[in-house]
């Protein structure tokens, strides 16, 4: 007989036993111990040439199988009568219970896997930054987080699928006029209900574009199209549109 046993094929001795039981078309409630323990031993010998991380458990199970096998060979008549009419205990009973219990969770694991797969077909997006709407958080406010929240948040983040950056970011070298940037910036600001951060007005990380954007912002401030404010030193600079007036940048 030839065995091709993959290292990751089994999750442990119970898993291997279930595999054998299924393969040999054996009734789990009436396991032929001699046959199963022979097959089992053959298997773990074949596996021994591979690297196993749970070898000790496989060996313990091999011993258990041997022991059940030998107990089944013992005459049982006397025990049976002595224990006043109670059913004689099948030496296999504990093993069968374990196999059934394990099989239950193995099946449940398959169902969780389905849920996992299904869930991964639904895409989400990160929450918007609401801090520009909210009151300033003071250093004194009480923070209540625990490690699990932190880990959960991190994993959620890692799980979240993001739109890839375009493979070829083709930024044609073209002259951008300050007027064009001014109207784009105004549009950006007016498209949002909340004030925008200063850094958002610099979407293209290229020097010429950034310089033009900066000059456009200065010009808009001068023309009183936008307000720029900063709560305190080093805090984010927020830009908002001057309500009502709209002279430049209308399309």
């Amino acid at each position: 007989m030839e065995y091709t046993v993959k290292l990751d094929a089994f999750e442990g001795p119970l898993d291997l036993l279930l595999h054998l039981i299924q393969g040999l078309e054996i009734d789990i409630y009436d396991i032929p111990m001699a046959e199963i323990s022979e097959q089992y031993t053959l298997y773990i010998r074949a596996m021994s040439v591979l690297e196993l991380n749970t070898a000790s458990e496989y060996l313990v199970m091999a011993a258990t199988l041997m022991s059940i096998k030998s107990r089944m060979l013992l005459p049982k008549q006397e025990e049976y009568w002595e224990e006043d009419q109670s059913f004689e205990e099948d030496p296999r009973e504990e093993l069968v219970e374990k196999l059934i219990e394990y099989k239950k969770y193995k099946k449940a694991a398959t169902e969780l896997k389905q849920k996992e797969d299904e869930r991964s077909l639904h895409y989400t997006k990160p929450p918007e930054d609401l801090s520009s709407y909210s009151e300033q958080v003071s250093a004194g406010s009480e923070t209540n987080i625990d490690l699990h929240d932190l880990i959960g948040a991190f994993n959620k983040l890692m799980r979240r699928k993001k739109i890839k950056k375009p493979l070829s970011t083709r930024i044609a070298r073209q002259e951008i006029s300050i007027e064009t940037r001014m109207s784009e910036i105004l549009q950006t600001i007016r498209a949002h209900a909340a004030p925008r951060t200063f850094s958002e007005l610099f979407p293209v990380a290229e020097k010429p574009h950034m310089v033009v954007s900066f000059m456009a912002v200065l010009e808009l401030v001068k023309r009183q199209e936008i307000h720029i404010k900063q709560d305190h030193n080093f805090s984010e600079i927020m830009v908002e549109s001057t309500e009502g007036v709209s002279l430049v940048g209308q399309r």
Partner: protein, 195 residues
């Protein structure tokens, strides 16, 4: 507030919240409504999204919080453009361990190992690191072993509203595809033969 307006507000709020989701309390507050009215309202809005083929979003209630997610049918299109930093799904060992914890919680590592028949330190660590399980207490008595339970991230990860949405634990091993009757028969035969 007319219902158009209400729908618009909820759309805006759900979009803003992204995958952090919104609790019924939060929705009630933003709409200036009573919390007890929110569940029905969300149910009816969710139905509108679901039924409208021109909508790409639907409303999910993972871990008890409402959030927009894209419809399953769009996955292929979005996949063309999207990528996740760690797309790896759980290993078989991880799934088995997670299943045992999910259904038996709170549960100790030794109890998990009794079911699986193998050491389970590795999978337990992985599940903690992935935020799917956490320490929920200590066992009474000697040793005071750590008890594990599932997290909100677990519910979100599997797309469940709460633990009651877990698929029922298969109570016996009668797989439909495994000739259960045959097994049952032979069990009976085996038992009567023993008598």
């Amino acid at each position: 507030m007319d219902s158009d307006n209400q729908n618009a507000i909820i759309e805006g709020l759900l979009f803003t919240a992204g995958d952090s989701g919104l609790s019924e309390d939060q929705i009630a507050e933003a709409l200036n409504m009573v919390v007890s009215e929110i569940a029905d309202l969300m149910k009816s809005i969710a139905a509108q999204y679901e039924e409208d083929p021109s909508r790409g979003l639907e409303i999910a209630a993972y871990a008890g919080k409402y959030q927009f997610v894209t419809k399953k049918s769009l996955a292929a299109h979005i996949k063309l453009l999207a990528d996740s930093p760690s797309p790896s799904s759980l290993t078989q060992a991880g799934l088995e361990t997670l299943a045992i914890i999910a259904y038996k919680q709170p549960v100790t590592r030794v109890q998990i190992e009794e079911v699986r028949g193998v050491k389970t330190d590795g999978p337990v660590h992985t599940l903690i690191a992935r935020g799917l399980i956490k320490e929920v207490g200590r066992n009474e008595g000697a040793g005071r072993a750590i008890l594990y339970g599932t997290t909100a991230e677990f519910l979100d990860y599997l797309g469940l509203k709460d633990l009651s949405e877990l698929p029922p634990l298969p109570e016996d091993i009668d797989d439909e595809n495994e000739d259960s009757d045959l097994f049952f028969e032979s069990l009976r035969n085996g038992l009567s033969a023993n008598e």
